[in-house]
């Protein structure tokens, strides 16, 4: 049996190529519209034409005639880095969800299963409670990065420990990975509970807001730091796609199709941990994107990972930036936590998916 054969047998390929391509184009258009919306819409009113003038002037290095300093700052230093961080987070989280669902061969899997979010949360709250003196040791421009760096290290570290626990004689048992993830996630949450107990009222609130996610603190520096890890995950997903398609048929089948299943699983977990860890570090916890977006993408382009992964990335950008526009506009001049918006939209949608699925099966 050739590799071609196996992937041909994957259900997505049964569907003809044209709707798949149309789906990808649709998601790309949505993502593009979301980026434009993220730059053009906000509580600070700027005519779209002026936004273009400002962007063009920044690109060419010319002075923009008749543009106020504040308009320039809102577009170039608030909305643009925000859109970049949002696009990275949306694409990274959605692809991570799709990859995890492939590795666990379970539609309910999300990056939280391998401990990224609980580990990052523990490190973040520990930093909020004890980290202020530590941050003082950093040079001034880096002080604001203390919490993101701690969260990144906490998320990645927890996942590596889980992966290590689940590996035996060079083989990773998916079931053990799942249970180790659950156990370590619970342990990390317990640690978070201890920290919350030790925290002051202010610190507890600060941490609570972090767990609800926001693009409000997005800066160019954060975008630059998160980008390599998220882009790494996106590039890795291109190479993981074929293996994940083969894995959909079972580990033994994938092995016989010439896929190095162990390398696939290990590579997937590490790429996801790095990509999601960097996203969480930049924005806090933004729920439901990793779970819901791959499902929605699968409805349109089918389950083949070679299209599902890029489709999830594009749709992730669209959904996250769309949610952020709502987060900025609903309570303006205040800002709703982004995770609240994604959960408000994501949870009912997920429920609808579930009921729809039951209607199909029953």
């Amino acid at each position: 049996m050739t590799v071609e054969h196996v992937t041909m047998a994957a259900p997505a390929e049964i569907a003809s190529g044209r709707p798949v391509r149309a789906g990808l184009i649709l998601f790309a258009l949505l993502a593009g519209a979301a980026v434009i919306g993220a730059l053009a819409i906000g509580p600070f009113t700027i005519a779209p034409g002026r936004v273009l003038t400002i962007l063009w002037a920044a690109l060419t290095g010319d002075a923009a005639p008749g543009v106020a300093l504040r308009e320039r700052i809102v577009v170039l230093d608030v909305r643009l880095p925000r859109a970049v961080v949002g696009a990275l987070t949306g694409a990274g989280t959605a692809v991570a969800g799709a990859v995890m669902q492939g590795v666990f061969r379970n539609p309910l899997a999300d990056p939280g299963l391998v401990g990224v979010a609980p580990g990052a949360a523990l490190a973040a709250v520990a930093f909020v409670v004890f980290g202020a003196p530590l941050a003082m040791l950093l040079p001034a421009p880096l002080q604001a990065l203390g919490l993101p760096l701690a969260a990144f290290a906490g998320g990645l570290g927890t996942t590596l420990v889980i992966a290590r626990l689940a590996a035996r004689d060079g083989r990773t048992q998916v079931a053990t990975l799942l249970f180790a993830g659950l156990a370590l996630g619970a342990l990390a949450s317990a640690g978070t509970g201890v920290m919350v107990f030790l925290a002051s009222e202010q610190q507890t609130r600060e941490f609570l807001f972090w767990t609800l996610g926001s693009l409000g603190g997005a800066t160019w520096l954060k975008a630059a730091l998160a980008a390599p890890f998220v882009l790494g995950l996106l590039v890795a997903s291109v190479f993981l796609a074929r293996g994940l398609d083969a894995l959909a048929l079972g580990e033994a089948e994938a092995f016989h199709a010439g896929v190095s299943v162990e390398r696939l699983k290990r590579g997937a977990v590490i790429a996801v941990a790095a990509g999601v860890g960097a996203s969480v570090a930049a924005t806090g916890v933004v729920g439901f994107i990793g779970l819901v977006v791959p499902h929605l993408a699968r409805l349109v382009v089918g389950p083949s990972h070679r299209v599902l992964l890029p489709a999830s990335a594009l749709l992730g950008v669209a959904v996250l930036l769309g949610a952020d526009i709502l987060a900025r506009m609903i309570a303006a001049p205040a800002e709703l936590p982004l995770g609240v918006v994604t959960a408000l939209v994501g949870a009912p949608f997920f429920l609808w998916l579930l009921l729809r699925r039951r209607a199909f099966v029953g």
Partner: protein
Amino acid sequence: MSEFCAAEVQKGDTSRIVAIGGAVTEILFALGLGDRVVAVDQTSRYPAAASRKPDVGYSRALSPEGVLSIGPSLILAAEGAGPRSTLDVLEQASVPVVLIPEAHDKAGVLAKIAAVAQAVGEQEKGRVLAAEVAADFAALEDMVKALPSRPRAVFVLSASGGAAVVGGSDTSADAIFRLACVTNAMAAIKGFKPALDEAAMSAEPDAVVVMKGGGQVLDADTVFSLPAFAGTPAARERRLVTMPGSFLLGFGPRTPRAARDLAAALHPGARLPELPPRQWAAEKDQ
């Protein structure tokens, strides 16, 4: 010439102020500058006119674009406002941000008034207000000194799930107790923490103090059905003192009044005189 003008505007433009922090907002209104306040944060509830201004949300999670969309010329914020990235953006947009140090005693309140007045260039009005508040503090000290006893009280922040979260030492609640010559029965705890039921019982509080505002009110039935207060003198006498949160714990100009009201409520026998009426403290129940 044009450079000179720009510098002038930057230094002196206090026409559109965003006030962050209940005490900062109160001081601005007390200075008679309420009409220059264009937006407040969610803790600014007094006077009523302040709570009708646009709300920029939680002081530590300020949205850079949200704040800029108000078109502010000055941000006056209680210490701790942020995040840093938002303050950086405001700075870049040449909106000055003045942070007012937070403190929970007489000197701290007077320092806040001086700092706010200086930031808006109204030092003379600031001195007048500070003198009035200092006089209130002096009158408060005289009346609480004369009180015969020192009651023991517990401040209860919330009571979710049957456990009372109380104000221990090092809290704003502890500080207002001290001003009112009330002993904090839970001083053994540091910060706002859930109290162990037995610890609260053995502390033998004479009264429980709660705050109202923000949509939540703890009533006597809820508080005294908590196991923590079973059998305490407070529960036997059902002595519950309810005061507006921003008044009780705000540490703005009305703090001597809050301490006086608290002392009066905890000494039902003693007749405490009212502090002299002030225009900036005329609104009730906030």
